[in-house]
């Protein structure tokens, strides 16, 4: 048990330090658990949540196919033209669009699609792209919080707690809408007045012919039809007793066939690094469960909170928010899930439901705290730097910390009012 704990903590430190590739650390940590006979391989693999793994892979496949139709960039450019090149309106609508896409796709894919268009638009308008990019970082993390498939922590929570896509929508979407309105207003006071562009530069945007981006309308139509069915499937999967992974896997397979996609090409695009990272993590956390470490910590936490779910939810929200701002939220959530499950065996699975929402909100919204709080932040920062617009760690903190505190505070009241 002590060896398991040591391996786990060391792996965690290495993952947080980012000195070694996190996937390799997770796999190595898992291998050590097996090598020391702390857990048998059969048992270890039982802890790998194939529901999460196959949902992730299926969504990656779906998105990679839809992405190549150019539809995401089409929508972004279309919006810029609909608002007649007005920079602040572009910023707000791309902010909302990023939030919406992040809810439906993973955050990294979303920012990889929207951020380049934003830098291009800012370049043509001759304004700094940084306000656009900052707003998109916040949007990706906030939007991702709203659905089961929006962010990996939610996928894990949904799978472990048996929460459906619609459970997430009912419980989190109202709050997310409040947060998005709040942030749009904040942006107006921060950037709205300062954004001025010349008439000529605005005309450059209006000259874009975004229809040309849709080069394969046939594939686009097929993709949209399949995606519509997938989203309907997500909407009803809880009622028809199917897992979200089943829906996504069916959708991905059908789109590969009807879209005449070469499976090998699209499978190569799957981010296998992330998939193996999850596998390693599941095994390590599974070992903690099997050795009883999780049970002991959960017991301690129950003693500390006296089984008070309201108090626990408050702590969970703020603690996971703070923690996720500094380190990767995926290993954190992976560890918290069995802990909360264990508490559920004492308090009742229904009673602990608010804890899942507190965990999800804390872990996902916390990602906005620092530039390294979430992968999407790092990707945008790198992209900005390469386009000659550096976002420094401290610059980001000036926006990230207050915004994270405010969104967590709003979430805090939301949880208190709605569940207690």
């Amino acid at each position: 048990m002590y060896i398991a704990g040591t391996i786990f903590i060391l792996s965690y430190v290495f993952i947080a330090s980012e000195k070694i590739n996190k996937t390799i650390v997770a796999l190595l940590g898992a291998s050590l658990m097996l090598l020391f006979h702390i857990i048998s391989q059969d048992k270890a693999f039982e802890h790998v949540d194939m529901n999460v793994i196959s949902l992730l892979i299926s969504m990656m496949v779906l998105v990679k196919i839809v992405e190549q139709t150019g539809v995401f960039e089409f929508i972004a450019i279309k919006i810029a033209k609909l608002v007649k090149g007005d920079p602040f309106k572009i910023m707000v609508f791309l902010f909302l669009l990023t939030a919406f896409f992040s809810a439906m796709l993973d955050n990294i894919t979303t920012v990889l699609l929207i951020a380049p268009v934003s830098i291009l638009l800012a370049g043509e308008l001759k304004i700094s792209p940084i306000p656009f990019l900052l707003s998109q970082i916040f949007a990706s993390n906030i939007g991702g919080t709203s659905t089961l498939i929006g962010d990996p922590p939610n996928i894990m929570i949904g799978s472990a707690a048996g929460l459906s896509f619609m459970d997430f929508v009912f419980n989190l979407v109202p709050l997310i809408i409040i947060l998005l309105i709040f942030l749009s207003l904040t942006f107006y006071f921060l950037f709205g007045k300062k954004m001025k562009v010349s008439n000529e530069n605005r005309a450059r945007i209006m000259a874009f012919d975004e229809k040309k981006l849709i080069k394969n309308p046939v594939l686009l139509h097929k993709s949209l039809i399949v995606m519509t069915f997938v989203i309907i499937g997500f909407g009803i999967h809880g009622f028809v007793d199917l897992e979200a992974a089943t829906i996504a896997m069916t959708g991905a397979s059908i789109l590969i066939i009807v879209g005449k996609i070469d499976p090998d090409t699209v499978f190569k695009e799957v981010e296998w690094g992330s998939i193996f990272f999850f596998t390693g993590l599941f095994i390590m956390v599974g070992t903690l469960v099997e050795t009883g470490i999780i049970g002991i910590i959960s017991k301690k936490m129950l003693d500390f909170t006296h089984g008070d779910v309201k108090f626990t939810a408050k702590i969970l929200l703020w603690f996971s928010g703070g923690f996720s701002a500094i380190v990767d939220n995926i290993p954190f959530v992976a560890t918290m899930i069995p802990l909360i499950q264990d508490m559920g065996t004492h308090l009742g699975t229904h009673a602990i439901k608010p804890l899942w929402w507190a965990l999800s909100l804390g872990a996902c919204l916390g990602g906005n705290g620092t530039l390294i709080g979430a992968s999407a932040n790092v990707i945008i920062a790198n992209m900005a730097a390469k386009s000659g617009n550096k976002i420094s760690f401290l610059d980001f903190l000036k926006y990230g910390v207050p915004i994270t505190l405010m969104t967590l505070l709003i979430s805090y009241f939301y949880i208190l009012i709605r569940y207690f």
Partner: protein
């Protein structure tokens, strides 16, 4: 395998009295028919097919007629020194190294071709000083030419090396590309040591920054600022900002052509920088070299 092991005195003819290339081909075809029972018409056809691509005549009066015969599982060499030079398309030749192989090529074919090219360049006077078939064979035997070990890079690179310094501006690189009609240069430090390379696409990256390359397409644009500002950028950006650092796009000057071809085919590259043991750039070598020296030598 040694070149001289492929030669036989009865296929070396000294002071042969013939008047034209046709006559030479006919004579050779007859000899080969006698010795190997190969259809004479096929032999003539093989030489003429190759000839249609141009004559392989060197200025010192040596010609290397060669050809491929379908399903000939062999490599046959006939050496002929004519009594008087033959007139062949405004050039003169009196020493002929004739080579026949199959349509798929024998292992030693290319090397044999190259070996005769080398003999012609380096030992022409010696060969011509011999007075009979045996002396010629003895001389080639002395040279002890290995035809299984492939040609070395240093034997086929051209002398002139154009490089750019890591501190040069991109504008000067573009100028140099135009001047030398080249689309890539090795990048070197002040001591001439290899650091990487820069090609015309690296230069173009100034007009297409990374964020646009991440998009599906930019065909919707009617104007694009980075492209319009290319010329200003070109003056202020340096080679070190854009070049590709690599150590594997080089080949040692002592490496051989087989290694070189392998790298090109495997990596789908078209050129490599040739460096010496101290990593100094001594030349560049491209897929064109393979075409000119080997495939159609």
């Amino acid at each position: 395998m040694k070149l001289h092991h492929l030669l036989q005195t009865d296929l070396i003819f000294y002071d042969y009295d013939i008047k034209s290339l046709d006559e030479l081909y006919n004579a050779i075809a007859e000899k080969i028919y006698d010795k190997f029972n190969i259809n004479e018409d096929k032999i003539l056809k093989a030489f003429r097919e190759r000839e249609n691509l141009g004559y392989s005549i060197f200025s010192n009066g040596t010609m290397i007629p060669h050809g491929r015969i379908e399903n000939l599982d062999d490599l046959i060499i006939v050496i002929v020194k004519t009594k008087n030079p033959l007139e062949i398309s405004n050039q003169k030749a009196d020493l002929f190294y004739c080579i026949l192989t199959s349509n798929i090529g024998s292992n030693c074919y290319l090397k044999t071709l190259a070996s005769f090219a080398r003999i012609s360049h380096e030992y022409d006077a010696e060969i011509r000083s011999k007075s009979n078939a045996n002396e010629i064979l003895d001389f080639i035997t002395e040279l002890n030419i290995d035809i299984v070990s492939p040609i070395k890079i240093k034997d086929i690179i051209s002398g002139k090396v154009v490089t750019v310094n890591i501190e040069d501006t991109i504008a000067s690189v573009s100028d140099k590309m135009k001047k030398y009609n080249m689309i890539f240069f090795p990048v070197v430090d002040d001591e001439g040591k290899y650091l990487g390379q820069i090609n015309v696409l690296d230069v173009l990256e100034l007009a297409y920054p990374q964020y646009v390359l991440m998009m599906t397409d930019i065909n919707f644009l009617s104007n694009f600022r980075a492209f319009e500002e290319f010329q200003n950028q070109e003056l202020t950006t340096k080679v070190k900002d854009l070049y590709t650092k690599s150590s594997d796009k080089t080949i040692n000057v002592n490496a051989n052509i087989v290694e070189f071809g392998y790298i090109l085919v495997k990596r789908h590259w078209h050129h490599l920088t040739v460096v010496d043991d101290e990593n100094k750039v001594v030349g560049i070598i491209s897929s064109r070299t393979i075409l000119q020296n080997i495939l159609r030598g």
